[in-house]
Symmetry: C2
Subunit: 224 residues, 2 copies
């Protein structure tokens, strides 16, 4: 079996949530979001390698969290860049070979099933991106008007975005560009086919204050 | 001021939620979802006309709910059709003139602000559709591959979808077609410009079991 690495990207400054603390460190049901996220990967496999990309300024916060929660799993820390693109590129320097699941630090509700599926499918297709169908109608804006689109043809993209390590490292050698909003678009720009698989509506990204409420409720429900 | 009517569409059979009871009747924080939805409109204006479209078989459930919750606001009941299109068309028969806000019975978290904005904007533009920006990247599927899209150009569509009554009644005279997934697309097909306004991420449509958990948490938080 190929070596499996998780690359957790937690570079965000939390500007969209009114909190002095970057959002990945906010506690959800008694534990920082980022720790929930990392523990999801450890539940999937306690032998996996985990690389955590954080802004260098936040390294002391991470140390304090490890101490407070007696978290002793060996994590490789890497410092983040100015942008998500740069943070992932930095993180990939610490990833050797096999497969890498790149995952948002603020998606703590990822399940072991989804992590497992992403590695299995990436082993076959070189790439496996978690995605969900749209629950609602979608329109495209077009100057003063808007246009109904066929929602069955669209998918909302989540993480993990899992890749063959050589492929994604090479893809990240391209020039950075603001339209590259995720790893899948980097792989696409480098000429690769981007394969999706069914993610989960529960696997939300915590971005806004209401997301915190939603995530806490989903997590509590899961614990029951 | 133009007369304001709410047309609440609650025709769904709840096939996606494992419950014998159609989902609009499931209790959320002690009260049926549909009653929460209707009360949101009454909070906005206690003098507004409300038309409720329900499958005829469910009329007795509605009566029982009114009795149990001592709900005495005068509602005009209309029987639903086989599809949402037919249900809305039936409902529009009970709407006279002015403006009509067509709203999903299973969106109980709609706020007074959003309802108010939809009427104000529809008075100006003939049409005002609640919509939100995408929080996540979006891809379009294309045979074996998928393609990144510019998410800033897309909006996820909610309700209320509020219209000049004459305009939407006339638009609903067109032939039914499965690609017409909402009222905005009916108006578009009839040749009208579809104007959007900023909805809310809390204004979720309850479709899946996890939506129930999310809605309950958001509602409880709002009550605090």
């Amino acid at each position: 079996m190929a070596r499996e690495t998780a690359l957790i990207v937690a570079g965000g400054k939390g500007t969209r949530i009114k909190s002095a603390l970057p959002k990945q460190f906010i506690e959800l049901n008694g534990k920082p979001i980022l720790l929930h996220t990392i523990e999801a990967f450890i539940r999937y496999s306690s032998s996996m390698k985990i690389v955590l990309v954080l802004p260098e300024d936040d390294f002391p916060i991470w140390s304090a969290i490890c101490e407070k929660f007696k978290f002793e799993f060996p994590i490789e820390l890497q410092k983040g860049g100015e942008t998500r693109f740069q943070s992932v590129r930095n993180g990939l320097q610490k990833v050797e070979d096999g497969l890498v699941a790149i995952h948002d630090g603020v998606r703590p509700l990822v399940s072991e099933d989804i992590i497992g599926a992403s590695f299995r499918l990436a082993a076959i297709h070189q790439c496996a991106i978690a995605a969900v169908r749209l629950k609602e109608s979608i329109r495209m804006t077009d100057q003063d008007n808007t246009k109904a689109m066929d929602r069955s043809r669209f998918r909302l993209i989540q993480t993990p975005q899992t890749f063959n390590v050589d492929l994604i490292k090479k893809a990240y050698e391209i020039k950075e560009d603001p339209s590259l909003t995720d790893d899948a678009s980097v792989a696409e720009r480098a000429g690769h086919i981007v394969s999706l698989f069914e993610g989960s509506y529960e696997n939300i990204k915590i971005t806004t204050p209401e997301d915190l409420i939603v995530a806490a409720a989903l997590m509590e429900n899961r614990g029951r």
